[in-house]
Amino acid sequence: MPKVRFRDSQIEMAHGAGGKASRRLVEGLFAPLLYGSLQESLGDAARVEMNGTPIAMTTDSFVVKPLRFPGGSIGELAVNGTMNDLAVAGARGHSMVVTFVLEEGLPSSILEAEVRAMSNALRRAGVAMVGGDTKVVERGKADGMYITTAGIGIPLPDLHLNPRSVHPGDKVLLSGPIGDHGITILLARGDLELEADLRSDSRCVLPLVEALVQEAAPGVRWMRDPTRGGVATSLNELARDCGLGISLLEEEIPMRDAVRGACELLGLDPLHIANEGQFVAVVAPDFADLALHALNNAPGGEDARVIGEVRKEPANAVLVSTRYGGSRIVDMLAGDPLPRIC
């Protein structure tokens, strides 16, 4: 029997936050018992071959509160999230299935609004929904609704993504400003008496990924969409998987003032905040200019930047430095980011 290393006595919120606890659960329990045949590190989507035809496959659940927020809603996220997981695994979404877990008493109008949001997102992404399932749970057992989607996609040509192909000197590209989604949700919950003109960045990143791949496919080595746990978590996973260091220049990381202000106020690091419409790519140095140019010229990629590069050191870690010469390590979080008050 494969060895189970997961020793936590109970499941806590941190196990779902995408940071270290999530990784412990996935690598310590799920991977040895369920993904035993897999040799590769776990990416955003799996690659399988059916009768010699490669396909990408992924699934994601959406449990957001509130259901609607500036710039998006759970229905839209449920489509875009799964499409994005396929896109950053180098695949164009082909078809999806969906499961709704609905809470007794949920107003039909709210459900209809979310189904419409999904329908619009499907049309924009050019992907088909081919089936689904519905369950209803008692009042109080779900926050209105949970949605799970699963999708399959067709790999884009000439693209070979693998953290082990990442080398020192490779450039790290980011598709746009970070933190919009996480901070929007934090503010939309209404616990903080803070207001900001901010919208979730929820969108399908496939057009941007395709623009990048079209120009720079042979040089693209790795991609990830930095959702829960933010850019810091994605890049820490890369650092660990490739055994190298990721060095970022703080001033180059695109960020809106509202996000920066909220993070300063709450003692949060924007690199830990969730995104729903961005991706990080590592590109060979010779292709970096082409790649950036391709992103900047695609609609919605105007703010893409080279934010850093891969170095030998610090091995297995992410280092952020500033123009004035200070630097710090940015780790994955243990659980959800918590505001510091005292």
Binding site: Q10, I11, E12, M13, A14, K20, A21, D191, L192, G245, D257, R260, G261, E264, G267, R311, E313, P314, N316, A317, L319, S321, T322, R323, Y324, G325, G326, S327, R328, I329, V330, D331, A334, G335, L338, P339, R340, I341, C342
Partner: protein, 377 residues
């Protein structure tokens, strides 16, 4: 962004660093303590050690309220929260801090109703909305957060909200500084004075440090340029052989403090005869308790508190690190048994604790790498 960008300006920062180099006397080693956990966090977050001369040693002080809270107090607070229908409210800072039977988050997973609040007023609001349930606000912090707890208690009394009480762990900064200075193995040259605490208490309470102990104090802001300017001001005093209290953080800190906040504190709180500090032991008159006029809103006066005492693990050398005698990485447990995910010692539990800040921001940098970065900049 105003009040941020101008204090991170590379040109001004370079100038301040040059000034520090100019003022530091060759061959002299300076030991400067930043009292406040917020400063410790900022020093690591902005990587100031990378740009300061090696002979300026920053020693991390006792000013992290989460770190200095004894585990027994967390156990007591969580024990009170086990009574049916109780809601346990605290700042996010507390949520992962381990008690003997787990952190507030672990208790939440086992069924305790644990809520994160952003101010004591939010906890009182939960009580207003849930009149049939008792809400305990687990109050922590130095004089920075104590006034808002005081005001909340005044509101609770005025509105006669009976289902609300405060488990008070507020501490005061000056006795902790005194304890550090009284420690025989402690040799410090100067202090970077607390920023947020001083917005409430002002700068006067530090005057004895300059007068009686002959150590300069500069109350400082939290941006890189604030801290560097404060070090410049301290070095100028040391060079001139002076010891005064100066205020670098004038844009926020009034010399006399905030009278309204001090008045609210005096109305609600009185000094405890003594209070235990994790890593430092008992310090007399170093913490606040709720006056008997507010007994109905004081969890300790209202309920039976178990008064749990938990000894710090013997192997952890928190006291030595807290006093600046040891560096975080010199502790035997650092990075092995004791990490931010599984903190054993006090200073690893909050991101403002010096061990956690060192672990998170500094630990995995290599010497070669730091040089590489400074050459780029």
């Amino acid at each position: 962004m105003r009040f941020v960008d101008e204090f991170r300006d590379p040109g001004l920062i370079t100038k301040a660093v040059e000034e520090i180099h100019r003022l530091a006397q060759p061959g002299r080693h300076y030991r400067i303590m930043e009292v406040c956990g917020g400063h410790t966090h900022a020093i690591y977050r902005f990587g100031l050690k990378d740009i300061l001369p090696e002979d300026i040693e920053l020693i991390h002080g006792p000013g992290c309220p989460v770190c200095v809270l004894p585990m027994g107090r967390i156990d007591d607070g969580l024990a009170l929260a086990q009574k049916n229908g109780t809601i346990f409210a605290a700042f996010g800072d507390m949520m992962r801090v381990p008690g003997t039977h787990g952190s507030p988050f672990e208790h939440k997973a086992r069924g305790t109703d644990v809520r994160i609040v952003y101010s004591p007023a939010d906890a009182l609001q939960i009580a207003r909305k849930n009149p049939k349930r008792h809400v305990i606000f687990f109050a922590i912090g130095f004089e920075t957060t104590a006034p808002s707890t005081a005001l909340t208690l005044m509101h609770a009394k005025r509105e006669a909200i009976r289902n609300f009480s405060v488990f008070c762990n507020h501490v005061t900064i000056v006795p902790a500084i005194r304890a550090i200075l009284d420690s025989p193995d402690m040799r410090l040259d100067a202090f970077i004075g607390p920023g947020h605490v001083s917005t409430v208490i002002g700068c006067r309470p530090y005057e004895w440090i300059a007068r009686a102990e002959g150590k300069p104090v500069v109350t400082s802001g939290f941006e890189p340029l604030d801290l560097l300017q404060s070090i410049v001001m301290l070095l100028r005093q040391l060079r001139a052989g002076e010891a005064r209290v100066e205020n670098q953080y004038k844009r926020v800190v009034p010399w006399e403090g905030n009278r309204a906040a001090l008045k609210a504190m005096a109305e609600v709180f009185e000094l405890r005869p003594h209070f235990e500090w994790r890593g430092l032991g008992f310090i007399s008159q170093s913490a606040l308790r709720i006056r008997k006029e507010y007994a109905d809103w004081d969890s300790e006066q209202r309920f039976d508190v178990p008064e749990t005492r938990v000894a710090d693990p013997k192997a952890a050398q928190c006291g030595e690190v807290l006093k600046g005698v040891l560096k975080p990485a010199q502790c035997k447990l650092f990075g092995k048994e004791c990490t931010p995910e599984h903190p054993i010692g006090a200073l690893m539990v909050s991101s403002e604790g010096s061990c956690a800040a060192y672990y998170n921001y500094e630990y995995r940098k290599t010497a070669s790498l730091v040089t590489e970065i400074s050459s780029v900049a």
